[in-house]
Amino acid sequence: MTTRYERTWDNRRKQSKQTPADESANGARSVTDQTRASYYGVPVIHKPHWKWLIIVYFFVGGISGASYVLASIAHLVGGKDAGRIVRAGRYLSLAALLPSPILLILDLGRPERFHHMLYILKLRSTMSVGTWILTIFSGFCGLSALIQAAEDGLLSRIGFANRLLLALPAKAIGAIGSLFGFGMSGYTGILIAATAVPFWAKNYRLMGPLFLTSALSNASAAITLTLSLARGTSHSTLQRLEHLDMLAAIGELTLLIMARRNLGPVIARPLREGSLGNIYRWGVLGVGITAPLALLSLTRLKPHAAPRLLAGISAALTLIGGFLFRYVFVMAGRASADDPQATYEFTRRERPLG
């Protein structure tokens, strides 16, 4: 009878390394050589069908959640002249939220059955948790946008609703809703990390923070862009947002470098090779992070050189980079799922067992 020790593959591998003569005696390739070869290049796992609909959803959903968070924080601690940030954040959050369920439902194989997700909550299924986060967040997001509309006097014709909305505790609603706003921006990273796809799962602790930071950077950029286009935005408001833009970009860059290092050469192949690698290098890192950082540093060095224009351009570049980040990460996941070597690498484990 074989022992427990002999049964585990780690120990078998060790044994075969110790006695290579056994393997090569009959002229066949060593086992490890065959391992490198793969089965005619057929993928070990199946890649998800997610493409443009999901990439766009990851982008707008992230902006929606993070805009809401920024608006709520500005409302809580921003003082008097944060009113513009609050207004822009709340409206942007709603505008970015509206397409989200449509994109998700269209992506289903059977869109008419979307409600099947709403009869059950499974905490270990991030798709299920995300469905509920989106559903609950929609309520908060819509309510806060309505409160903003009432404050802006857009609902003055409907006297009762106007009075009711103005009487609601907007700060408390914003604070609780922000929890779901964070969930909205971050769950997408966990959604893709909790799969068998090497490119996503290898960095399972970094994907949530990465998507969250990128969403914050995009939301901050979206608010900056809106306010830089709006007339009468004060210099101090823009400065505060620029400060946030810079910190978010630095955070995103740090997380991206950490993620890239952790992937290792085989699993990170989609980031290095081909058009995806170029989009990552020049689009995500160049246009999306380095260029805005340079522009924002410029406005700090020369505070009076067209601050509004520079802030607007850097925000637009950040948004382009944020979209490309999601494009690259979804497509790189698909590419790594198609690469048997990436899966072998990911499922190989060196730790001793038993």
Binding site: R7, Q34, H46, L76, P111, M117, A194
Partner: protein, 283 residues
Amino acid sequence: MNAAIPLIDSDLVGTTGARHGAMGYLTDTTLCIGCKACEVACKQWNQLPMDNLEWTGYSYDNTKDLSATTWRHVAFIEQLDGTNGHSPGVMPPFQSNWLMMSDICKHCVKAGCLEACPTGAIIRTEFDTVVIQQDICNGCGYCVPSCPFGVPDLSASDHKAHKCTLCYDRMVDDLEPACSKACPTDSIQFGPIDELMQRAERRVAELHQRGVKSAYIYGDRAVGGTQGIDGLNCFFILTAEPEVYNLPAYPELPQDKVGSAWLATLGAAFAIGAVAVAALRGR
């Protein structure tokens, strides 16, 4: 209603593994002759359409992979000489250096697809097998990348996820599943998994005795299945490293990462909140 299908018994149909009465397959690759009777029987019984009508050039394998319409897939692995790429001159003890293996859904004891499913369409049956309920599935496709073995797939025709049901409709009528019934060499053996595991252990011991020292059980519960996944209800006797058969060596349950992923995200949310408060604070 057919009395043989206890669909409402909550003890029998749940989302966690009920170990009593677990049924599965032992696929002994040392007996496989690559006849593909299992593929054909599966397609016939489950009325699966043909797919991939082409020559792949992958030895005798024209099915390539498990898919929504292929629930059994016979892999043909020609092990060539390392130095010149030809068949080796000296043959190892059996099968002429030609490995054949009939792959199938592993019906994992902790199943990634089942845990990923956001609609509850994927259930564990009274036979401890994992089945996708076609009247619930809405084709979200999350089970597809959540399976560490690449089993479920979305169908191009009805856009829902499909995979092996371990012939649930035959088992409730006390019939053996189609593929094992059709297997002419008993390479595919069906039965209660405790019994099958004992049989597998005896067979591996016998193979070792007869000179096939490399034989082992893939999905051996005694050593924690594949280590990351606590056990497979459909396990295999293999004679080369798992990767040679295009199987992952130590697949992990993707959902085991959800907890720490949320913790990390929560930490990031705190940090981001603090940064935003500092940046947006009014003077």
